[in-house]
Symmetry: C2
Subunit: 426 residues, 2 copies
């Protein structure tokens, strides 16, 4: 059954427009976006602006279980590495039920924040037996129950740090060999809800695999035309360790060892050298930034301006899910470099618009990173939407021309009214 929507405003890619009709087909895809409304029976949404559903390109859903924890520092300031200890304690206590519950909680919060697709960077494969992939199925089941679209980015994780064995906690993450890893991905693929679920490929980080295994897994992901994600250069120690072992920084090493393409997403790139970044972006690579998590973890200030000057394909992720708000991620993607450079207007498009590139990162950028036809309201794309409530106090006083700016710089999750995934309203 097809349905035609007539919202007050529709985001057509660069602006909100009135009198646009969006028809959703019974396959859960957008069948038509039309400006001629004559004689069409449509469901009116008079107080709603229709946005593409937001795309969260990097999440670890289980880390929702750390909310409110690990924010005390009895021995003075902490770091990413002390936080990781708390995260590993959560890992040690994980079973299928707990992971299902935490994932469901995270995914429901994402939907309430306008996020309709999550790229779940998933490395917590095994329960306390350290075998089997029941935890992978728990994540997929939670996504289905919540109703969110998921790209399960299944992680290869084989070494504890460069050249080192896995720690006891890390054994929950283990893939023994690339062959075993691909077997697990193949089995996963048989468990997917084809309408809303897909898989992608991950090598966790430079510290989690040998270069041979990394190259092997990446080459196979290219052969399969899967998105490939990896944590890169979040922490200075990670870079120092990479220099000590390989005499170069992670991204430089990846450029030498792998064939970088538009399916490759480097997550974080907080401390990346500008020339390495330029080469990576020239090769088509995506960068996924996670402003709230990078701030929570004290990672440092990424060179967003430099990335954009090189035409960077940026995506956004909620990562640790310490806070789930894509509008806050967009806002602070812009605000942190404003503070660092003492200017206003860092992420600008050719017309000097600031909000558009931020929304693009949270929609099209994520779609490119995950290789999914989402993040745009156009025929053929999945019918994934988020609506803004035009009667929200936060948005009072703005018009079609200023609505996006008002929401991104002045709004919050409260302005999100409903979401729709594959034609199903939530």
């Amino acid at each position: 059954m097809t349905e035609t929507l007539a919202p007050a405003l529709v985001w057509t890619g660069e602006r909100f427009e009135r009198d646009v009709l969006v028809t959703v087909g019974d396959d859960g895809r957008i069948a038509d976006v039309a400006r001629d409304a004559s004689g069409v029976e449509a469901r009116s949404l008079p107080h709603r602006a229709l946005l593409p559903g937001l795309v969260n390109a990097h999440s670890h859903a289980f880390q929702r279980g750390l909310r409110g924890k690990g924010e005390r520092f009895a021995e003075g300031a902490g770091s990413f590495w002390s936080w990781r200890e708390a995260m590993y304690a959560l890992v040690d206590a994980m079973d299928e039920d707990k992971l299902h519950d935490l994932s469901l909680r995270a995914f429901r919060e994402m939907l309430a924040a306008g996020i309709t697709t999550v790229g779940e960077f998933h490395y917590l494969h095994h329960d306390e037996s350290r075998r089997g992939y029941g935890l992978d199925r728990a994540v997929l089941a939670a996504a289905k129950e919540a109703g969110i679209r998921i790209a399960l980015l299944s992680a290869y994780y084989n070494t504890g740090s460069i050249g080192k064995r896995l720690s006891t906690s890390q054994e929950r993450f283990r893939s023994r060999t690339p062959a075993e890893y691909w077997d697990s991905v193949d089995r996963l693929a048989t468990n997917l809800d084809a309408r809303t679920q897909s898989v992608g490929c991950v090598v966790h980080s430079i510290r989690a695999a040998t270069l041979d295994d990394l190259a092997d897994v990446h080459a196979e992901s290219r052969r399969r035309e899967l998105p490939f994600h990896m944590h890169v250069e979040e922490q200075r120690k990670e870079i120092a360790d990479c220099f000590a072992a390989y005499d170069r920084a992670p991204l430089e090493l990846l450029a030498e060892e792998l064939e970088i393409d538009a399916r490759f997403t480097a997550v974080h790139c907080t401390h990346t050298d500008e020339r390495d970044m330029e080469a990576f972006l020239d090769a088509g690579g995506n960068v996924c930034l996670c402003p709230l998590t990078e701030a929570n973890l004290g990672d440092g200030i990424a060179d967003v301006r430099g990335m954009l000057e090189h035409g960077g394909a940026l995506a956004l992720g909620t990562d640790s899910n310490a806070r789930i708000s894509m509008v806050e991620e967009m806002r602070w993607l812009e605000y942190v470099p404003r503070l660092a450079h003492e200017v206003r207007g860092v992420c600008l498009d050719e017309d000097g618009r600031n909000a558009n590139p931020l929304l693009h990162a949270a929609t099209r950028g994520g779609a490119r990173s995950l290789g999914l036809p989402v993040g745009a309201i156009e025929a053929g794309a999945h019918a994934d939407f988020a609506t803004l409530d035009l009667e929200a106090d936060e948005l009072a006083g703005c018009d079609a021309d200023t609505l996006l700016d008002a929401w991104i710089f002045g709004g919050g999750n409260r302005s999100i009214a409903e979401v729709c995934v594959g034609g199903r309203w939530i």
Copy 2:
């Protein structure tokens, strides 16, 4: 009529506690905070945690009218000074009705964000006639209509920049002499709703008054025991201009010219020299930071860590009201220095708790800055509360011990259920 409240949790200053009863007297003050619940008839609030109402120590309500505007930069990046041009265009169009409507909008959003007291740094005194104080009355009327407690911090503004005449826009702000200024404050005082309204004193900034007038107005504010607020060192140009005219930075100059005390609040201090800051804090001065606005305006990164190392009395303000969320202000008060220093846990108390100093800035710190008995749930304080909804998705999974951390690092305005000002629930 007194009423006794029995929330699930009550913030008693350093932690949430169960089984605490809060009695509100018919004078709108807290009559009693008791741990012995036997035999007391109380209104149960089973899914609520009671916080002191949040205190917004620095606001320009009318700037709510700029939301969604001034965020495009057709000629490349903008600055505070290009933003100020947009703000002045809003000023030029202001009349009593418009100011009332914008202020009402801002104050209602503040209440929805848990803010029960606003320190309204008010310099837009005159309508298009450039005479009279009708705009002051419009702000007070809007505050009363919204139901928010207000300290109207009335501003002295006499020069356009150091030694310069006012521009045409700035004539809306003019006080001709300190004597005329105090006359206007005296008239204002007769218009107050004594239950929820008070006045305070402001000299807008170093650029808005001669040193003689500044000293004169400040001395009289001390004689009257009024809070005194001033914009200090937000922009580097402001500091350079001060050096050019007076051969010293603003805060150093203030320390020489004025008697700094606990009633003095310096707003921003983004670029303050560490020794000047130490002397100012030693003298008892308050610093009001406005993380969202300072980020929006690209002011730069304040030395929050240094302020705290010198025992800084910090308050928080929503300033331009581009975004109204005190929990986001608290979160980014901590997150910006985390990013700058690449550590976790900057604003810590003696026990290593991170959330407590952030909440204190948004409650007690604001109360100290405004000289009002608010920001604490204790006998004698105004019965001003904000409640957290313990059933909010954002807070799921936390307990009394982790609730504050979960909200400050993981929550938003959505977790605020109700507010109460002077015993009146909104």
